[in-house]
């Protein structure tokens, strides 16, 4: 099943691979709890500037993987490399260059938003007031910075969690469900922030259930199910479909018969729901398909490349139910 959707990497991804700009890499990463394999031989590569979507149903092993990446959980076997160094042996050098938000934002509720940033900054060796103000501005909490965190809404706590993640100006951001609790405007702002950070050369690793969000901002995705990597690809490649086109013509059954007589048209069929022809194209080219049909007197009313939506791919790959994804 995985092979059916595993596609070749895009030229950009290939270029990054060649440049060796791997920011995060896992080698046969495995975590076992007793008899249960939470993560099973996971091999991932995340490249500089990627916004990498890490998807999977509940219990797939996403959070366990993130915790292993951040050195919170010791892998049963395998290793994690961040910025070219093994996290297990170089955590003090590597992890200060990572910003993370794991699950719900963990905050000192009795402190103000600003003081939360200050104590984390102190622990990291000291962060200037200017930097604290800058990250508060970035996440839109400057006006409430002096209020105790226990008076914050869930969305504000989420923003503060992101601010803490950004405090050390990290090269790699690891965000677990960053849109949790945000209102629609907040989600849009968060999306813009991710894009801006990516444009500035930061690498962002996002675990999310919100496939629409992932589709909009991620450049590459990996789908995890039952602890195993099901697929890893660019979003573009993953949703490209099988090179099929949906064609609307008059007399579709006659056109279908002519197409099926061609080597490239063996799988052509009619979508009975709307009478549209679904077919491959000569040389995989929409232009050639158009020419073929026009030459035979079937000028298409429309000719649209078929794509697959991320949700259906996710559900197919994970055998999940629609209720578990949004």
């Amino acid at each position: 099943m995985a092979d059916a959707t595993m596609t070749r990497p895009s030229p950009q991804a290939s270029a990054r691979r060649e440049a060796g700009a791997v920011v995060l890499r896992t080698h046969d990463l495995t975590k076992r709890y007793g008899e249960r394999l939470a993560v099973n031989n996971l091999n991932l590569e995340v490249y500089r500037g990627d916004i990498f979507g890490f998807l999977g149903p509940n219990g797939a092993g996403k959070t366990t993987t993130i915790r292993m990446i951040l050195g919170l959980i010791t892998p049963t076997s395998g290793s994690v490399e961040v910025l070219g160094q093994d996290v297990a042996t170089h955590r003090a050098e590597v992890l200060p260059r990572v910003g993370a938000l794991v699950e719900t934002p963990a905050l000192y509720l009795y402190l103000s938003g600003r003081d939360n940033l200050r104590v984390v900054g102190d622990a990291l060796g000291g962060v200037s007031d200017e930097r604290i103000q800058a990250v508060l501005q970035m996440v839109g909490l400057a006006a409430r910075q002096k209020d105790r965190v226990k008076t914050y809404s869930l969305g504000m706590k989420q923003r503060l969690g992101v601010a803490i993640a950004l405090l050390n100006d990290p090269d790699l951001l690891v965000l677990d469900e960053p849109a949790n609790g945000l209102d629609p405007a907040g989600i849009v702002e968060m999306r813009d922030l991710m894009r801006r950070l990516s444009a500035e050369g930061k690498t962002i690793f996002i675990s999310s259930h919100v496939l629409g969000e992932v589709r909009q901002i991620c450049t590459r995705v990996a789908i995890l199910n039952l602890g195993k990597l099901v697929t890893e690809s660019t979003v573009e490649d993953l949703t490209r479909g099988q090179g099929e086109f949906a064609v609307q013509v008059e007399r579709p059954r006659e056109a279908l018969a002519l197409m099926q007589a061609q080597p490239w048209g063996k799988s052509a069929r009619i979508d009975e729901a709307n009478g549209t022809l679904i077919t491959q194209a000569p040389n995989g080219s929409g232009r050639d398909l158009n020419l073929f049909l026009v030459n035979l007197g079937f000028a298409p009313a429309s000719l649209i490349p078929q794509t697959q939506d991320l949700e259906s791919i996710f559900l197919t790959l994970t055998n999940n139910t629609a209720g578990e994804v949004r």
Partner: protein
């Protein structure tokens, strides 16, 4: 409701943040700040300092204090010092139990430990920073208490009673030797309390477990002394009555009387006769029903402290952080 974001064009300002790396000094500073920001810490320290006034207020309310002090300055000064140190030992120990358990337990319970560890802060480094900051707080509390006691003593006996000329008779070398020994037992007791609280909070990885287990410990082993005494009476087996000599609470309770050298003082009894008698340190709480020397008490306490520290460090170092 979320505030609207008006700063979407703010960019990441060039910063020195990239050169950051976890700092032990910074961690201690952050821990002290977090502790002080909690009302629990302020209230507990306030209670300790408020209780410091208690013996002086009681003496002030007593009509013959000035006369008695003038007649027997050493006896009264030593009693005041001993009561003050007992208050510091008991209430200060209680405050440190709660503060230390909160320092560790809250970090686990609120999940903030993962924020720090995921930035490269070492587990052992973090625990050591917490231990250091609680110790610094304890030192500040002890120094504050000593200063407050000194001021109150000078105010009451020097200024109010005008008995300053008796101080030379009160502060003898024997007095200082006994008070110093008692003070040492207070420090030992506090150290054991801090390590106990940190250990149980690490084991339970929660604030509620940490605080309740730390507070229950001494209540439980004090109560166990009584239970074992009854078992001894039933079985007539010496084992049961000797066992509490290895319990931390009873050992700490009796440490002052086992270690502090008795001070020879002249004391006028209620019948008007003046006697010279050794004045030993009082005990608070239940003590073992067998006698033991100070070395035994220190060794047992040290073993407990080592076990608490090793348990806390090994669990912190080895366990996955699932919070």
């Amino acid at each position: 409701m979320n505030p609207s974001i008006t700063t979407t064009t703010a960019s990441i300002a060039p910063s020195q943040a990239r050169s950051l790396s976890p700092s032990f000094i910074g961690l201690v500073r952050a821990e002290l700040y977090k502790m002080w920001a909690q009302w629990t810490t302020r209230i507990l320290l306030g209670l300790v300092f408020a209780a410091t006034f208690l013996p002086y207020l009681l003496l002030l309310a007593r009509s013959q204090t000035k006369t008695d002090f003038t007649a027997q300055p050493l006896y009264w000064t030593y009693n005041v010092a001993e009561i003050s140190l007992t208050i510091l030992r008991v209430l200060g120990g209680f405050a440190l139990l709660v503060i230390a358990a909160r320092a560790v337990g809250l970090e686990y319970q609120q999940g903030t430990i993962r924020v720090l560890l995921s930035r490269g802060v070492g587990r052992v480094q973090l625990l050591t920073a917490k231990l250091t900051s609680v110790t610094l707080l304890a030192i500040a509390m002890v120094i504050g208490s000593l200063i407050l006691n000194s001021l109150l003593f000078l105010l009451q006996f020097g200024l109010i009673y005008g008995a300053g000329d008796q101080f030379s008779s009160a502060f003898t070398s024997g007095f200082w030797a006994s008070v110093w020994a008692y003070f040492l037992t207070v420090l030992v007791s506090m150290a054991a309390s801090i390590l106990l609280a940190i250990c149980v909070a690490v084991v339970g990885r929660s604030l509620s477990f940490g605080v309740s287990a730390a507070l229950s410990w001494f209540a439980a082993d004090n109560f166990a002394v009584l239970v074992l005494f009854f078992v001894y009476r039933l079985t007539q087996n010496d084992f049961w009555i000797k066992l509490p000599a290895y319990f931390l609470g009873p050992i700490l309770n009796q440490l002052p009387s086992a270690y502090v050298p008795a001070l020879l003082v002249q004391h006028t009894t209620e019948f008007g006769t003046t006697v010279t008698a050794p004045l030993g340190a009082n005990t608070v709480g239940l003590t073992p029903f067998v006698t033991y020397d100070a070395t035994h008490a220190f060794v047992v306490t040290l073993i407990y402290c080592v076990v608490f520290a090793v348990t806390a460090y090994i669990l912190t170092w080895r366990r996955d952080v699932l919070e």
